[in-house]
């Protein structure tokens, strides 16, 4: 069911001459906006001074309470992606992008009201719930469209979009700081105005993406591309229905593969600044630690494109083998870099780890496509995103609690992360085994009739001519 006819899938079928290279920027319009979530922490400190202005007043919000905004958003991201995945897939990308933009912007507007009336529950509702739905819809909306436009390079195509999610913080962070400075006065912190401005900017940007996006006509393939004739065991030519896919062991093995890869990375990402300063006391200043966090984010972004593109050549399973084998070795090396006091080696270990953390996110849509076909890949991806939500809880809890336990047990701060690193390495070994167990999906799960082709033919008849290159 379409919200507006113009948003409907049939109205987004590409006309002859449409370049498929228009689709990645459309996807980036969405991901560069919703990835702002990674930069939300820039609002945390200002939001603890909304009443006190220069310092926190007793009635001001606490950092621990503000931390829930991001957690709720990530939780809702996972659940909404799972719940609305099928709607996104069947309704088409434009409708989903449009709704994603609307929810994301409304989330900011409601949050601005929450800040203005100083009610944190309204902010939870705004950014956490509405923003979270915008995140979930936006994250999965361009995935299957990109895979259909780039059957020859599905990893690269989805990697490009998901790279945008990793890179969005680079724009959102300075932009948010600038907006807050612009609207702040001696008696007022400009958080609410910054929220409204961001909402408007993101709404325009995301709706431009929705306007640009197109789906290929059924049966379309890139000029000169011939699908591989030789049967590849781990690349199916069949489709699996979304609710059948989640009944397969393959889905849950990939769920654990993603969850474990993300758990290992996300815990470190959250503690990177403190960890670098505590492991190298006197060598890494606060400013240098901030630079380290920026570097990690940069490699998180670049890894998304690099590893997803690489997976087109070496295969998805082998790519994850690289993540888990190399990741295990690097996590085991980190305590050694601390013991010899080598900051460059420490940084090198973590930038590679972070590239694989991002690569895990970006390679997984193509992995799903290989296992379950293209028809419901977006919806299946939506269900898989719950692994991210779970990892978002496990990872930081694991790192924080083990570190605290070590310090309470009398371990010096510089060595308090050693056990954590070995546990992370252990998680990656389990991930390696899960990846090892992934085999082709049993044929009983394959869809029996090709509804897509039938519906596509109807769409072509309605639209006129088939799409061009």
């Amino acid at each position: 069911m379409a919200l507006l006819p113009i948003l409907d899938r049939t109205h987004t079928i590409a006309k002859p001459g449409f370049s498929r290279w228009m689709v990645p920027p459309a996807a980036l319009c969405i991901h560069l906006c919703i990835g702002q979530a990674y930069a939300f922490s820039v609002f945390n400190l200002p939001m603890t001074k909304l009443i006190g202005i220069t310092a926190s007043a007793p009635d001001d919000w606490k950092l621990t309470d503000l931390g829930w905004i991001f957690s709720i958003a990530i939780f809702v991201l996972g659940t909404s992606a799972a719940i609305f995945g099928r709607w996104v897939e069947e309704g088409g990308p434009r409708q989903a992008m449009f709704m994603s933009g609307l929810c994301w912007a409304v989330g900011f507007f409601i949050s601005a009201i929450g800040v203005y009336v100083h009610n944190l529950w309204i902010v939870y509702l705004g950014y956490g719930v509405f923003g979270g739905i915008g995140l979930g819809l936006g994250y999965i909306s361009p995935v299957s469209t990109l895979i259909k436009w780039f059957p020859d390079r599905p990893g690269m195509a989805t990697g490009m979009a998901i790279m945008g999610f990793g890179g969005a913080a680079f724009i959102a962070s300075p932009l948010s700081v600038w907006l807050m400075a612009r609207f702040s006065t001696a008696t007022h912190v400009g958080v609410a105005e910054a929220f409204v401005s961001l909402g408007v900017i993101y709404l325009i940007f995301m709706w431009i993406g929705a306007a640009i996006v197109r789906v290929p006509a059924p049966g379309w393939k890139p000029e000169g591309y011939t699908p591989p004739v030789v049967e590849q065991k781990l690349i199916t030519k069949n489709d699996v229905y979304v609710y059948d896919a989640i009944k397969t062991p393959q889905f849950w093995l990939i769920w654990w593969v993603l969850c474990l890869n993300v758990t290992a990375g996300i815990g470190v990402l959250g503690q990177a600044s403190a960890m670098s300063q505590e492991m190298f006391p006197g060598k890494v200043s606060v400013v240098a630690a901030a630079g380290f966090v920026g570097l990690l984010s940069l490699f998180n972004m670049l890894g998304r494109f690099f590893w997803a593109s690489t997976s087109d050549y070496i295969g998805r399973k082998n790519t994850y083998f690289c993540f888990f084998a190399l990741g295990t070795a690097l996590y085991c090396l980190v305590p050694w870099t601390g013991s010899i006091g080598s900051v460059p080696l420490f940084v090198l270990c973590f930038v590679v780890i972070m590239s694989m953390y991002g690569g895990g996110f970006a390679t997984v849509p193509a992995y799903l496509k290989d296992m379950f076909g293209t028809r419901y890949v977006g919806a299946i991806h939506g269900w898989l995103i719950t692994a991210w939500s779970a990892a978002g809880v496990f990872g930081p809890v694991l790192v924080n609690y083990i570190r605290q336990y070590q310090i309470d047990s009398g371990v010096p701060k510089a060595q308090a992360y050693n056990v954590t690193m070995f546990i992370m390495a252990g998680l990656l070994v389990i991930g390696f085994l899960c990846n090892l167990m992934i085999k082709a999906v049993d044929r009983r799960f394959h869809m029996k009739s090709d509804h897509e082709a039938v519906r596509g033919q109807v769409a072509i008849d309605a639209a006129g001519q088939p799409a061009g290159a």
Partner: protein
């Protein structure tokens, strides 16, 4: 001639679309690299 016109008319939306996403992203990346350099100073 007609083909050339079609190519250039296809190229302009591509440049605009990639510019729209590429310029802000490049700006953000440069800012981040400048900050990251402090780690090695």
């Amino acid at each position: 001639m007609a083909n050339e016109n079609q190519n250039s008319s296809n190229l302009m939306p591509l440049i605009l679309a990639w510019g729209l996403v590429g310029i802000p992203l490049a700006w953000g990346v440069i800012q981040t690299i400048q900050n990251a350099m402090k780690l090695f100073q």
